[in-house]
């Protein structure tokens, strides 16, 4: 049986690197998808700069027998589209790693060999020109990589047909020919000799199916998983201003506007985007605004409007490196305390911070339910790492299980027909949630205002009414607490060290656990997804057994650890923080956590 010798925890990392404009990300996406079609679980992370052409970009892929939660270092195969790529990535290559590059590059192969690598100069340009066109060089490169890895060609060729089918036969056939030629070249030259392969030594081609046949995997980015969640959550309106790394969400809906009947509006700026969504939410659409930190900053005043007027709206902040323009294409968790406090005064808001593709999908529909149930803005706080990571998932990882469309205290036309007496939009209730009518019914004609107001929505400055209205609005937070989930615990319940994290750091943190165990440190992960209203009681319960707590965060000031202390009095014993814009790898977390705990191993 093929691959019987590869262990369950087998994992191999591949990097595709080159200049911006060379198609690094599309190569990475192609490779990732081909691997998944071949049955491998994949996790792909793009790393690119804020420019259209020039500058080094790369895409790191992890192929594993089991689902991965993050990318992993070191890298076992480097596909270098420029000579510079080799120098940039050498420090992150495993001993014995293969380096594929065009044989036209002036590279000192002997020197690479002396350093313990396997240089593979390949006639990529020649093959592309002979069998298709020079533009197809990346296809050949990916195919050559498949060849040296012992991965079958067939999934790649099938994928090329699916990907380029709409571009015509000539392009499809050209790409397929280039792939076949490059693959044949690689298999002939490197027949199972490399240390790191997706197959047993000696195995090549078709025999190397790693997992059960028929087990289909989809490969999608975090943002794409979120979009699917928003669709099943009944989203009918998206407005946004393009901002990396949130732009793909608007583009996703714009491409499917006709098919899904969701308004996808590219607005003139972020203030307009959020105001449009608030206008749409006010009249009854399930509206959302994807943005990043800079756009969210512009939306701060309107956020307060949604809070004051009790309009349901979903704002997605896909965080990137700040401050200001910062690191526009990179990742960070620097906006946590900002989104919790943005806009003047006090009003209820709900903040969700999904950590995985599955949770991001779930946030897609949960956010709309929470927004309508509590008639307030809901902020989904993700980041570039989660948003752009391409992950393989079995189809049943994203399902309708547990999905509902809960419109809360929304009054139907029939209910409004039966209304006697004037409609009061802000009627006082025990939970603070007032029965909500949408404009358009003859029995519920009403005004709302960002000024303080009475039950009928008219401006007031009367003391008792002001206090009662503040109390009414803020009561919604107490009610919403029932819907907030406590942290999830991963790893052994009884552990010496607990890594406390929120949002996307959960993936690499969980992957760090076996690495820590290998160093003799028993550790677990406590992961928060529901940030506000802060689930104080659930957090306190979860923290009871914690012996040494290390906060793991992609920011400078351990913002979540500060929030945790503010809300529970619990103080972490140390923190592993990263603010270089690059996502944590499990290895980085493990190494730095060991330092934090002063491990005696």
């Amino acid at each position: 049986m093929a691959n019987g010798g590869l262990k369950d925890d087998f994992s191999l990392s591949i990097t595709v690197g080159g200049d911006a404009g060379q198609g690094v990300e599309s190569s990475g996406a192609l490779f990732t998808q081909a691997l998944a079609r071949g049955g491998w679980h994949v996790f792909g992370v793009p790393d690119y700069r804020s420019r259209i052409r020039g500058g080094h970009n790369f895409f790191q892929i992890r192929a594993a027998r089991r689902p991965s939660l993050s990318h992993s270092d070191p890298v076992h195969l480097l596909l270098a589209y420029t000579r510079e790529t080799i120098d940039v990535h050498k420090p992150n290559l495993a001993q014995g790693a293969a380096i594929i590059y065009d044989d036209g590059f002036r590279v000192d192969a002997a020197a690479l060999e002396a350093e313990g690598f396997v240089p593979i100069p390949a006639p990529l340009t020649k093959i592309a020109e002979e069998h298709g066109s020079k533009l197809m060089i990346n296809t050949g490169a990916v195919a050559a990589a498949c060849g040296v890895l012992g991965f079958p060609l067939e999934p790649l060729v099938r994928l090329l047909h699916d990907t380029y089918g709409h571009k015509g036969k000539k392009i499809v056939e050209g790409n397929a020919s280039v792939a076949r030629a490059a693959y044949a070249w690689a298999v002939e030259r490197y027949p199972g000799r490399l240390a790191y392969r997706l197959a047993e030594p000696g195995e090549v081609g078709e025999k190397t199916q790693p997992s059960q046949p028929g087990r289909e995997l989809m490969v999608l980015t975090g943002n794409e998983a979120f979009c699917l969640g928003a669709v099943v959550g009944g989203c009918t309106f998206v407005s946004a201003y393009p901002m990396t790394p949130a732009t793909p969400i608007l583009e996703w809906f714009a491409a499917r506007e006709r098919e899904l009947s969701v308004v996808a509006k590219h607005a003139e700026d972020e203030i307009a985007a959020v105001c449009m969504a608030i206008g749409a939410g006010f009249v009854g659409a399930r509206a959302m605004v994807p943005t990043s930190g800079g756009g969210f900053s512009l939306m701060a005043e309107a956020l307060g409007m949604a809070g004051m007027c009790e309009v349901p709206v979903v704002i997605v902040n896909v965080q990137r490196g700040g401050p200001s323009t910062g690191l526009p294409t990179r990742t960070e968790q620097g906006d946590l305390l900002f989104v919790l406090h943005a806009s003047q005064g006090e009003f209820p808001r709900i903040v969700l911070a999904p950590g995985t593709h599955e949770q991001y999908f779930e946030a897609g529909w949960r956010a709309f339910n929470l927004a309508e149930k509590y008639q307030c803005p809901v902020i989904v706080l993700s980041d570039q790492f989660l948003a752009a990571a391409r992950k393989s998932l079995p189809l049943d990882a994203l399902t309708l299980d547990g999905v509902s469309i809960d419109r809360g205290a929304l009054l139907s036309a029939t209910e409004l027909d039966r209304l006697d007496g004037p409609y009061r939009r802000y009627a006082m209730t025990e939970t603070g949630v007032s029965p909500r009518a949408l404009p358009g019914h003859p029995k519920a004609v009403f005004t709302v205002t960002t000024d303080e107001h009475g039950e009928d929505g008219h401006i007031t400055e009367e003391i008792d009414l002001r206090v009662a209205m503040m109390d009414k609005r803020m009561r919604k937070l107490e009610a919403a607490l029932a819907d907030m989930r406590g942290p999830d615990l991963y790893g052994p319940e009884d552990a010496d060290v607990t890594l406390i994290c929120w949002g996307s750091t959960v993936g690499p943190a969980r992957e760090a656990l076996p690495l820590l165990a290998g160093q003799g440190v028993t550790a677990n992960v406590l992961h928060f997804t529901d940030i506000w209203p802060f689930p104080v009681h659930k957090a306190e319960m979860a923290l009871q057994g914690v012996r040494r707590a290390i906060a793991v965060e992609q920011n400078h000031t351990a913002q979540f650890a500060r929030l945790l202390r503010m809300m529970t009095g619990f103080q972490v014993n140390g923190s592993v923080r990263k603010y270089d814009g690059r996502p944590f790898s499990p290895q980085q977390i493990a190494a730095r956590a060991l330092v934090e705990v002063g491990a005696r191993v």
Partner: protein, 321 residues
């Protein structure tokens, strides 16, 4: 008013039920007249404020067009004039400073059945909201935009506005304004607006006609209303305007469908100020007509339970295999 069961105040949850939550086309019992639009709240404007005339004209236009209060949504910003939605009986949303056009656009796209009107001041429209003004002109949603243009910031007690004339002395321009004023008509024309009119708060009949024409125009329609501020603008008074305005409708040679004519008159300001329909473009459908998602009717009337059809999710997921 609401019992617990009806009001759902106790937080009971409902799955989506396909019940219509959208507007009803049924007219309420009774006659539609000015009283229909009466609000129990009295305006807080200064006696003699031009906003009174604008409020009356809006009510009269709505009655004459046979639009019921539940069919209209009036969106305003912040400022004296933006308090207007509080003083008539209709759906209203007083938003934040400068943003009503964006809020109104979202509301219109989500429910095109509503008659959406924006009422705000010159600072709100042409100052802080200038970007939205520019882009709403070119976008052309079916929104009627009435600007109470008093050439002053009144609610903050007398600072110069984007439309204040050069030399105008205020608390923030003690030596007179040095900046060129915004000409809303010229800006709207340049930005691609399809309907541009000007009127005067002291000419209620004319104002009502302009508002009616704007509401009947399919697409974005601007009515810039010269509105005296009796408290803080001692220059641009009722008399000042009355002495200068003239109606282009009285000029037989004037062709409001000609952009050239509109530009010529629209840029006129000073000794003579043209009012009336300065520009009207015909045959261009409003923005909503081009929005693919609106082909299936108002988004607010979607049956959201269709999203829980397993086949939909399956189809979307298949694209990633």
């Amino acid at each position: 008013m609401f019992d617990g069961a009806n009001g759902q105040a106790s937080g009971g949850t409902r799955r989506v039920d396909g019940q219509a939550h959208g507007p009803s086309s049924r007219a309420p019992n009774g006659v539609l007249d000015l009283k229909t639009y009466s609000s129990p709240y009295k305006p807080t404007w200064c006696p003699g404020c031009g906003d009174f005339g604008i409020l009356s004209a809006i009510k009269a236009a709505l009655v004459e067009l046979e639009i019921w209060p539940h069919e209209v949504l009036i969106v305003s910003g912040i400022g004296c004039g933006s308090k207007l939605p509080q003083y008539l009986y209709a759906n209203g949303f007083m938003t934040i400073h400068g943003r009503p056009l964006a809020v109104a656009t979202g509301a219109k796209l989500a429910n095109p059945q509503l008659h959406v009107m924006v009422v705000n001041g010159d600072g709100d429209s042409y100052g802080i909201g200038g970007n939205h003004f520019l882009h709403t002109c070119r976008r052309n949603p079916d929104i009627t935009h009435i600007v109470e243009n008093n050439q002053i910031y009144a609610l903050t007690k007398g600072q110069y506005s984007p439309t204040s004339d050069v030399g105008f002395r205020t608390t923030t321009s003690p030596e007179g304004v040095f900046e060129m004023p915004v000409n809303p008509v010229a800006v709207a024309l340049a930005a691609g607006a399809g309907f541009v009119a000007r009127s005067f708060a002291g000419e209620p009949k004319h104002l009502k006609q302009m508002i009616m024409a704007a509401m009947q125009h399919p697409g974005y329609a601007l009515v810039d209303v010269l509105q005296p501020c009796v408290a803080f603008n001692k220059v641009n008074t009722y008399n000042w305007y009355a002495e200068r305005i003239y109606d282009v409708a009285n000029d037989d040679s004037y062709d409001p469908t000609s952009l050239r004519d509109a530009w010529e008159r629209g840029t006129e300001w000073g000794e003579r100020i043209p009012i009336g329909i300065l520009y009207r473009r015909e045959g261009v459908p409003p923005y909503e007509n081009y929005v693919p998602a609106l082909k299936d009717g108002p988004p607010v009337e979607r049956d959201l339970s269709a999203r829980l059809d397993p086949e939909l999710l399956e189809r979307l997921k298949r694209a990633y295999v």
